[in-house]
Symmetry: C2
Subunit: 189 residues, 2 copies
Amino acid sequence: MNDEVVVLRYGHRPGRDDRMTTHVGLTARALGADRVILPDNAGQSAETIRDITDRFGGPFAVEQRDDQRAFTRNWEGTVAHLTMYGERVQDVEADVRADSVDEGTPLLVVVGGEKVPFDFYEEADYNVGVTNQPHSEVAGLAVFLDRLFEGAELEREWEDADRRVIPQETGKRVVDPDEAEAERAGDGE
Amino acid sequence: MNDEVVVLRYGHRPGRDDRMTTHVGLTARALGADRVILPDNAGQSAETIRDITDRFGGPFAVEQRDDQRAFTRNWEGTVAHLTMYGERVQDVEADVRADSVDEGTPLLVVVGGEKVPFDFYEEADYNVGVTNQPHSEVAGLAVFLDRLFEGAELEREWEDADRRVIPQETGKRVVDPDEAEAERAGDGE
């Protein structure tokens, strides 16, 4: 896992932040990250993300730690911290990509909760603003990952899923992955 | 406002959904939509989004209604409903763009909360999946808008702001917009 992309969530208030933290983790998984690191007190979110991974596939790892600052400081690779105060994503995305996925260097993407200590701004190789407007750390993470991977994350195949959603013009279709495989073979793909 | 892009949030449970609905509205604003329509019972989210618009600029409108289904049915323009069951965003984004912003037709982007009635799937011109994985309606909206506008939304200028964030490599810098204007003139931009 030398070229992995890891999302680190800093800060979590149990109860109040459960859904936001869960959405950070699910977005990391759906949009191409390999692993999410959550605070120790975010056990409920961790459980939800693991449950989704069990059902919809992986690989995707969920880890809990309480040493977010030291972990970031000791990260051997590139650190990108998402913040509305940072440089414009459209200006730095090519540099971040060149310093990470393009050369097989691990990338840590730090996503803040409420108040992020100044350490993270200083430890980051890139402070990146997905707009310099206040909106949502989940939205910022999503746009950042989609741009980092240039859309390639949308083509990802999932392993060990016990269900797969088949894209539909109207309505919902969820199948067993083996059935989906057979159907794709039938389409000649 | 013939070519406006409007985000409609369907479903809201006061308390439990306040932050998600707020983040849907703030993401709509930050990433280029002209207006968000929230349920009648999402007054607290509406207030937060209006407050951010007052401070960080617009134009951006926040509206509350309780006729989401009829509003969608009667929409004169294109309707895109974001759902993990829909067609892949990478396959339909060009068509949605051609049917809306490219030809000056209004676009309604429907973002569900928990359970979206089947009406919305049927009324939509496009059911669009930003991945066919469960993650976050905020993340889905963000990627959808960034792709719809092809990044042009990131270059938007804000009017009537009383503060502006200046992108920084490290740290935070917030200025009075008049000061920012003078600085940009000094940079020869």
